[in-house]
């Protein structure tokens, strides 16, 4: 990946607050350093000079690709919820557990809150994020006007991001496997692999995502 340095506004003189080109200025979202971003070529990346936060990293056809990857992840998530993800065999009995079972096991009792939280972190919030990204980015990728409330939906998708914990759940499954290894024999079901696939796809998708490009496109097309 090529790195392109962002231009300091000082390279063109101190920015004038009354300058009509205020839309070309970008402040680092993390440290507030001000830059004038020239046309960053597609496929290259500009970072803040002092805190190294990525300011922009435009990619060819990124919005269409993100929308498609989010669609794939959403389908995998639905499959992962209903298919068994672990099979446990002990004393001649077989117990199949789906993600839904994990959530429902607490549904009656003092641990309802925990059940709701676990369901939210591993299924509801990741799924909400995939669907929001499709809703916002599919019209963008097709060159249409943004869908109604697209800006608010994308802001919500960004807020959800740290709370979407599918990848942490996978490590949890691995730890649980080892913990009950002495008690019973366990095997992984198809839903586990669906989960692994959707986590990998999410990582690829997030790598394509240039927030600044998306925000700018949303802003221009909304006008």
């Amino acid at each position: 990946m090529t790195e392109t340095d962002p231009m300091l506004p000082t390279e063109q003189g101190k920015p004038d607050p009354n300058d009509s080109a205020i839309e070309d200025l970008v402040a680092c979202p993390t440290c507030d350093a001000l830059y004038r971003l020239p046309n960053i070529p597609i496929g290259s990346r500009a970072r803040c000079l002092r805190c190294h936060t990525v300011l922009t990293a435009p990619r060819e056809g990124a919005m269409t690709r993100i929308a498609m990857l989010a669609g794939t992840s959403a389908i995998l998530m639905i499959a992962a919820v209903f298919f068994p993800f672990l099979e446990l065999t002990a004393a001649g009995m077989v117990q199949r557990s789906s993600v839904l079972d994990v959530v429902l096991v607490f549904a009656d009792g003092p641990f309802v809150g925990l059940a709701v939280a676990v369901a939210a972190l591993i299924v509801v919030l990741p799924l909400a994020r995939f669907l929001s990204l499709i809703y916002v980015l599919a019209p963008m990728g097709l060159g249409w006007r943004p869908a109604p409330y697209a800006i608010a939906v994308f802001r919500m998708a960004e807020r959800i991001r740290p709370w979407s914990m599918a990848e942490i759940f996978i490590v949890g499954v691995a730890v649980a496997l080892i913990k009950v290894a002495g008690l019973a024999s366990l095997s992984l079901g198809p839903a586990f692999w669906a989960f692994v696939a959707l986590v990998l796809i999410t990582a690829v998708k997030d790598n394509f995502m240039c927030r600044l490009t998306i925000w700018k496109t949303l802003e221009h097309r909304s006008q």
């Binding site: 340095d5 101190k14 507030d32 805190c51 759940f169 490590v171």
Partner: protein, 217 residues
């Protein structure tokens, strides 16, 4: 690449912040606005500028809440196992010891790091970052910024043990000789992780650089 020499103070072209240029920047999308700034960002609609003091109070409030619920998370049982009518309870630390006794050293390490090391480091790091905003800090801004990024990145991983308990309870049910149930610590631990995540999210990383920016202007 001029990145390295740009980092030093006293570069020929010092970095100006949006604030120093008399502009109000959106911390979400980077859009800058002239004074008087609108209540909401013109591009992404985020409410602008809650005020630095208010954000610091929120950081500390969530941090203290996270530390308080972390105490019962360690004292009360995380997991209650019934085997042939015999019930045993284990706290987070006892769970790690059990794993060690079974010889699962790698997994014991994962659980120990996620449930004990990361939360403790996170409390210390957020506390340090929040308190060093107001005074001269021993760490320069780039190092503190790195610390902030690490805290933001690793904090969520503490949730592993909560998921492990949920999975075990779902798997090992009544129709077996053994049953596993979550203990009260599972709830307080999950709350502790959530509160510290909220604390880290409330922290405004601009504050790390603000002192240097104030000195420069």
């Amino acid at each position: 690449m001029q990145i390295d020499d740009m980092e030093n103070a006293g570069t020929p072209q010092p970095i100006i912040t949006a604030r120093a240029a008399g502009l109000v920047a959106c911390p979400n999308c980077g859009r800058v606005h002239r004074h008087p700034a609108p209540a909401r960002c013109a591009r992404c609609g985020l409410a602008l500028d809650p005020g630095p003091d208010k954000s610091l109070q929120r950081v500390l409030a969530w941090l203290v809440a996270g530390m308080i619920v972390y105490v019962p998370a360690n004292i009360y049982p995380m997991l209650i196992t019934n085997t042939f009518g015999h019930s045993s309870e284990s706290t987070i630390l006892e769970g790690v010891v059990e794993l060690l006794q079974h010889g699962s050293y790698g997994v014991a390490l994962i659980v120990f790091v996620a449930s004990i090391i990361i939360p403790v480091i996170k409390f210390a790091a957020i506390g340090f970052l929040a308190l060093s905003v107001r005074r001269q800090s021993i760490l320069p801004p780039p190092a503190r910024h790195k610390l902030y990024e690490i805290v933001e990145f690793i904090g969520r991983w503490s949730m592993i043990d909560v998921f492990v308990v949920a999975i075990l309870a779902a798997l090992v049910q009544l129709d077996f000789a053994a049953t596993i149930n979550p203990g009260i610590a599972a709830i307080s631990f999950a709350l502790s992780v959530a509160f510290t995540m909220l604390s880290a999210q409330s922290f405004d990383p601009k504050a790390i650089w603000a002192e240097r920016d104030a000195a420069a202007s």
